[in-house]
């Protein structure tokens, strides 16, 4: 028990000695906390976006087939469906119709998608929350409600008015903010798309292991198509978000090095009072290893305080304040940006990563200075 008692006493002494130099230590902890806050925010944010993307893509079709024309996506002829359906292992093939519509009145881009449930109710639409909140010129800033009418300008110049039949649930805001569900007939009138064409095809496959074989067969039969697997989309999202997080980390490394220099400076620049304190401790019988232990506890106290405060603030920032600092980046050019709260998620792995990126460099730069102060000669200090 003697060993634990010794550690406790040294820790006790360290904390009171830290308290005696409040100003200097608080300044260090504040900067340290800020650095951890920034890095943790980036980590939490990218991780939650990844999680959100994978949740959304869970319901995505296993395979999407697009047609390419001169390297760009084009409408796909619906007769491709018959040949693709004959490939062994394909359970179902369905055409999809979707696109973007620019609304000059609100200056926003809507995503229009055909929904089979509306096919026998031409003239009606279901809209997302962002669409309903758009500012209506002339009527005032009222939100759109059920049975309101939205005018659309078709691609041949005439006007098509569609009636709002309902609103999409709020829970799926991230995907549905700018979404409008329309019937197939209205969609074709709006964009003048011939009846034998679709935007792309979606496939269901009986056995997930056959996906790549089926994709290869499709490109063999129709060399102008591009099959995309759901796993590929997921993997790409993962890589892209990780990459973004990594890039921001690199950008923030400037801040980080400034902090490391500050920490180094604070640790080397011992005041005469601190030197005298160490001198007295050694004179009354403390060994060099005890002083090193004290310095270890000092570093731990500062690191732990800053680490947890930084993580806590980052948590508040990302999950409760909907990442105010990153919002402009998130918003981008979109007018109908979704307002959504990310699902809180922190793992031990994220914390371990943060620890490696912040506490370890801090510890490394303070080892030599604390050793230097621990090996001060007591008589030379006290003689000053």
């Amino acid at each position: 028990m003697g060993a634990i008692e010794k550690q406790r006493n040294i820790l006790d002494f360290t904390l009171s000695s830290l308290g005696r130099r409040k100003g200097k230590n608080i300044a260090l902890v504040v900067v340290y906390t800020f650095v951890i806050f920034l890095l943790a925010s980036v980590l939490f944010f990218t991780h939650s976006l990844k999680k959100e993307a994978s949740l959304i893509l869970q319901d995505a079709p296993e395979m999407t087939v697009q047609r390419l024309l001169a390297g760009r996506q084009d409408l796909i002829p619906t007769h491709y469906i018959d040949t693709i359906r004959q490939i062994r292992g394909v359970q179902s093939v369905a055409p999809r119709l979707w696109g973007y519509y620019y609304d000059a009145m609100s200056g926003a881009n809507y995503t229009l998608m055909v929904n089979a449930e509306l096919n026998d109710r031409a003239g009606e639409i279901i809209i997302g929350n962002g669409v309903s909140m758009r500012s209506m010129s002339g009527i005032g800033n009222q939100a759109l409600r059920k049975n309101d009418i939205i005018p659309f300008k078709t691609y041949d110049g005439s006007v098509l008015t569609l009636k709002v039949r309902g609103l999409l649930p709020f829970a799926s805001e991230l995907v549905t903010a700018d979404l409008i569900l329309v019937s197939e007939a209205d969609f074709r009138t709006l964009f003048s798309i011939a009846n034998d064409q679709a935007t792309d095809l979606v496939l269901n496959v009986r056995n997930a292991k056959e996906l790549s074989t089926i994709a290869a067969k499709i490109t063999q039969i129709h060399p102008d198509t591009r099959p995309i697997l759901r796993e590929e989309i997921l993997r790409t999202y993962d890589a892209v978000f990780d990459w973004r997080g990594g890039v921001i980390f690199m950008v923030l490394s400037g801040v980080f090095f400034a902090f490391i220099i500050l920490a180094w400076d604070k640790a080397t620049g011992l005041s005469a009072e601190e030197k005298r304190e160490i001198g007295i401790l050694k004179a009354i019988g403390w060994e060099t290893s005890d002083i090193l232990l004290m310095k270890f506890w000092e570093g731990s106290a500062v690191s732990i305080a800053a680490f947890f405060m930084g993580i806590f603030l980052a948590y508040l920032h990302i999950f409760l304040a909907s990442s105010i600092l990153f919002e402009p980046v998130l918003k981008g050019w979109s007018v109908l940006y979704p307002s959504f709260r990310l699902t809180p998620y922190i793992s031990v792995y994220q914390i371990a990563t943060l620890f490696f990126l912040t506490v370890i460099p801090y510890t490394v730069v303070t080892i030599v200075p604390s050793w230097r102060s621990a090996t001060i000669d007591p008589d030379s200090v006290m003689r000053m």
Binding site: V42, L43, T46, E231, L234, R235, D238, A239, D242, W243, G245, G246, V247, F249, T288, S289, L292, F296, Y349, A352, T353, L354, F355, F356, L357, I360, P361, T363, V364, I367, V368, W371, A374, T375
Partner: protein, 333 residues
Amino acid sequence: MIFHPGILALLLGSALTTSMLCYSAYEGVRIIRNWDISSGSERQLELERRTYLVSTVMSYVLGFQLLSLFLFIYTADTLSPLFIGAMCAAGSLNVNGFGYSALVLKIVGCLLAGLWLVVNFTDNKAYDYPLIRKKYWLLLFITPFLIAETSVQAGYLLGLKPNIITSCCGTLFSADAKTVMSDLLALPLSLSESAFFLSTPITIVSGLYVYFKTKGAYLFSIASFIHFFISIAALISFISIYFYELPTHHCPFCILHPEYGYVGYPMYLAILVSAVSGLGTGIINPFRNIASLCNVIPRIQKRFALISILSNSVFALIVVYGILFSNLSMAAY
């Protein structure tokens, strides 16, 4: 390279620990060349101070090394969705040739750093630094391992390119593939089981002998060393299947996942701790005749033997618990 925060953390951490170690090795060379305990010169005083710095650095190096071993496995695990066919760390470590070598070097690094700390601890208990040259030779021996580990790890992480097809843990650890792992699996279940249940009591009993009689440290040390390999082999060949409740799943990494209650962490930690403390009792044994250490070493050996016995027992208890309370029964095989 994948720009993943975990990868950046690992690269940064390894670079820092290795540079610290290189600095210590440089100090080590100076100490080996110029150490003279009988001298009261300025240089000797300076060197005595430097030993404190090296000790501090090495304790941090071991701590970081241990953390980075688990961070490495966990990162490989999280990266697995980026590679076709990789389902856990087993698959993503196989993406390029450096993965498994980096893992092995990391484990060796942990063991060596632990042993160094044991020698250092013993040396610090005596007033006249009797082991100073030996421990700095050991330090010079460890340094190339950690440099190799850092480079191989960098080679692995920088060479990762998403989408390269790798075999998943199901095929990699199935008995057909010609790897060391498959040789372990090819061991009959009864053989690996009896090896494990034989070597556990042998190690513990020889540990108790060291604890009570302070004799037989070499035997205990060798037993611990063999037990280290038997434990890992047993974990892959027969212990893991009880936790997965699947007689064909032998993955050594999935056991670290939350769905198995992170049970792998205490198990691997127990294996490492018992190996370091068991080997430690043997490595300091030759010095028990040095005048300033003859009273100290038996006490230290007792303490390490106790630590080793305890961690071996913890491991054995987890294993027995896992086998008894598993829904899987291998009685039919």
